[in-house]
């Protein structure tokens, strides 16, 4: 088990959005720059589960970025490793992303 700090930023214009990380509902707050963000701590033994869904106009671009930092023994956090995924809200559907992310090599998911 290790503790990880996960800074989530999601850009785009949505009418509704829901994010679950490692089974936890995440409160994404609007930061005034077309971006929703949250920073959370997780105690992980393996992969970080990501479930995200958003409603909005079709063809709306979105980007999901998770900056994942492992907590060191002295309480500080290591340099973050990024998971990033972008896409477009599809016609007639919601946008959905379901991933299992390795916290040590998130860019390889």
């Amino acid at each position: 088990m290790a503790v990880y700090k996960v800074k989530t930023t999601i850009t785009g214009v949505f009418t509704s959005m829901d994010l679950v990380l490692d089974g936890k509902d995440i409160d994404l707050s609007y930061d005034g720059d077309h971006t929703y963000a949250s920073t959370d701590l997780f105690d992980l033994s393996d992969k970080l589960g990501l479930q995200w869904a958003a409603r909005g106009l079709s063809f709306q671009d979105y980007t999901i970025t998770l900056a994942i930092s492992k907590r060191n023994d002295d309480g500080s956090f290591a340099k973050p490793k990024n998971f990033e995924e972008d896409g477009t809200i599809p016609q007639g559907q919601v946008a959905q992303v379901h991933r299992e992310i390795s916290p040590e090599s998130p860019d390889h998911e």
């Binding site: 214009v13 409160d27 707050s29 609007y30 106009l57 007639g92």
Partner: protein
């Protein structure tokens, strides 16, 4: 030395609409009205060329299936000086407007659940908005001769409105629907014509006239009225899938249903949006019809 004043009116009457302006939404008609309030469009500076307005808005919102309430505020005001003159030449009404909005999502739709295998793409929300506006208006009485100088009038406007919005998606088309009803203390400056009045100071020395100075001021002409209005607005914005979210076509109605100032103004707007950002029009044009007169307005927005 003799000084005398000559009043010249040039720049024939022009409707406020062609160069004549809102809120968290950029989908709006010539007078800034809209019934569409999109989330996530805070942090926008925009201007409606028609009314030479500048707007700053803020949105406080937490996105999650258990957080259904949020709020926002915006401040707007008429541009003065160089920017305004570049756009319209004159600004007969200076104004500042503060609006505060509260929102609740999912009125008739289910909150979005990321773990659901087949969530519905349709969404809806309601907005309650209250606002205060201070205007400084210049009026010119054309019924007396010689023409007097324009007089300044202050106006305090109040407004409260409730809007319902829905996003309805089909396989190849998106529709943004909106309807709002409100109560407002307002005036009829949007219906008045504006003129530019030039005040020349001429001096005569030894029988030779010399122009000493010249000032221009914009003013409204017509019968100025203040009244309690009941605005009812509706919008239906259609995004044809063939344009990949780049074009939104807005059929709208702006109306006043109060008995003393009853009116209806149907119109059609076309908005061009950034690629990949269909909720962010970069510009548009609206055509509307009221009291036998057509109005055309250009609207531009810049995001930062």
């Amino acid at each position: 030395m003799n000084n005398f004043r000559a009043m010249l009116i040039f720049a024939a009457l022009f409707c406020q609409a062609p160069f004549a302006m809102c809120q968290q939404s950029l989908f709006e008609s010539h007078d800034g009205d809209t019934s569409i309030f999109l989330e996530g469009t805070g942090g926008v500076v925009s201007t409606n060329i028609g009314k030479s307005d500048l707007r700053l808005s803020y949105l406080h919102e937490i996105m999650n299936k258990s957080h259904l309430y949020s709020w926002g505020a915006d401040v707007s005001g008429s541009l003065n000086g160089t920017s305004s003159q570049l756009l319209s030449g004159v600004t007969p009404a200076k104004s500042a407007l503060l609006r505060i909005s509260g929102k609740k999502r999912n009125i008739f739709t289910e909150p979005l659940d990321a773990s659901s295998p087949t969530p519905s793409p349709n969404d809806d929300w309601v907005i309650l908005q209250v606002g205060y506006e201070r205007q400084q208006i210049k009026l010119l009485d054309t019924s007396v001769s010689p023409l007097p100088s324009p007089t300044s009038h202050g106006f305090d406007g109040y407004q409260a409105s409730l809007a319902y919005n829905a996003l309805v998606k089909s396989a190849h088309n998106d529709f943004l629907l909106g309807a709002s009803v409100g109560v407002a203390r307002t005036n009829n400056v949007d219906d008045l014509d504006s003129v530019q009045v030039t005040d020349s100071q001429v001096s005569v020395t030894n029988g030779i006239e010399r122009r000493a100075s010249e000032d221009s001021v914009a003013a409204f002409v017509g019968t100025y009225k203040k009244f309690i209005g009941v605005p009812v607005n509706a919008d239906a914005i259609w995004y044809p899938g063939a344009f990949s979210g780049r074009i939104g076509i807005d059929g709208f109605v702006r109306s006043q249903v109060a008995a003393v100032h009853r009116s209806a103004e149907p119109g059609l707007g076309v908005f061009v949006c950034k690629q990949g950002q269909p909720a962010r029009p970069i510009g548009g044009a609206t055509v509307s019809y009221k009291d036998g007169k057509g109005k055309v307005a250009l609207i531009a927005g810049w995001n930062f």
